[in-house]
């Protein structure tokens, strides 16, 4: 990205914004799962894995709809800066963004499987969330590496 030095400021701050958006989203998801009552992250994760909080289809749609737009847009906004990167290989960017979109969809729709009764455990939601968060952090790192050149 050395050809675009002026754009380093907004891109750098975008990485910080994106990190805090994901962090506040995870916090927001864990609060009704027991974090607001127990205050313990370990206990909340165990409770989520064994007995996730029951949600209605209306609650699912109210959460899924804005997230399909916002997560899709946020991944696109952050990942498109890899187009200008000379440090991150193109095949890596392509695979990373593809898996990131798959993980985002899995994360959004994992709770639908619980509501429909297809799975009773919340571990699938937890795994999808963890994979999405990890891949998103890798994406932020890849853009940060591209910025530092």
């Amino acid at each position: 990205m050395k050809r675009y030095p002026r754009y380093r400021i907004p891109i750098g701050y975008m990485l910080l914004f994106a990190f805090f958006i994901v962090a506040s989203g995870i916090w927001l998801f864990l609060l009704p799962q027991g974090l607001s009552e127990t205050g313990s992250l370990t206990a909340t994760l165990q409770q989520l894995g064994q007995k996730p909080v029951l949600k209605s289809w209306q609650q699912f749609v109210e959460i899924a709809t804005p997230h399909l737009f916002a997560m899709g847009a946020l991944i696109f906004i952050v990942a498109h800066f890899l187009l200008f990167s000379t440090r991150v290989p193109r095949y890596f960017s392509m695979r990373l963004t593809l898996w990131l979109y798959i993980a985002a969809l899995a994360d959004i729709f994992a709770y639908a499987l619980i509501i429909a009764g297809i799975v009773t455990s919340g571990w699938i939601k937890l795994a999808a969330l963890a994979i999405f968060a990890l891949l998103f952090l890798i994406l932020l790192g890849a853009v940060a590496i591209s910025l530092s050149q």
Partner: protein
């Protein structure tokens, strides 16, 4: 259909018109966002304290932390998208030597700090609300400045 990419927007009046329209829309968004937060949280530290901590004498319940965090989550996303568009147009319309990097750093830091200070105020007390009010107005005023400069240069083309 033929796609043409040019660094010079003078011969592309449609792009210039689109940039003027989106900048104007974002300036209106910023003004209404200030009004919205005045209704939701309050403009003064005292009004914001009443929203966050409640007021027994006035029978005002404190805000649920979940509601506050949801507002912070949305604010971060909206600030990011609006600022990226606004600053990209500003940088596009500004000569290299005229870019005010100090303004851009202050703008992004205040925009990032405002929602985080609101969460800090919820846990840390009303002292942090002064920081929230300051950061909130600083980033809105700077964003309005950046947008106005961009709009002025777009009209001058």
């Amino acid at each position: 259909m033929k796609f043409l990419v040019s660094k010079d927007i003078t011969p592309t009046p449609l792009l210039r018109q689109l940039m003027i329209a989106v900048t104007a829309a974002l300036l209106l968004y910023l003004l209404l966002d200030v009004v919205l937060h005045g209704y939701l949280i309050g403009f003064s530290p005292q009004a914001a304290a009443q929203t966050l901590y409640g007021n027994e004498e006035a029978f005002v319940e404190p805000i649920l932390f979940e509601s506050l965090l949801l507002q912070v989550h949305i604010d971060l996303f909206m600030a990011l998208v609006s600022l990226l568009i606004l600053v990209a147009i500003y940088l596009r319309m500004t000569q290299k030597e005229k870019v005010r990097t100090g303004v851009l750093h202050s703008l992004f830091l205040a925009a990032l700090g405002a929602p985080l200070l609101l969460v800090a105020a919820y846990f840390g007390g009303s002292f942090w609300l002064y920081g929230w009010v300051g950061a909130f107005f600083v980033w809105h005023l700077l964003a309005l400045f950046v947008g106005t400069v961009a709009l002025k240069r777009l009209f001058a083309l």
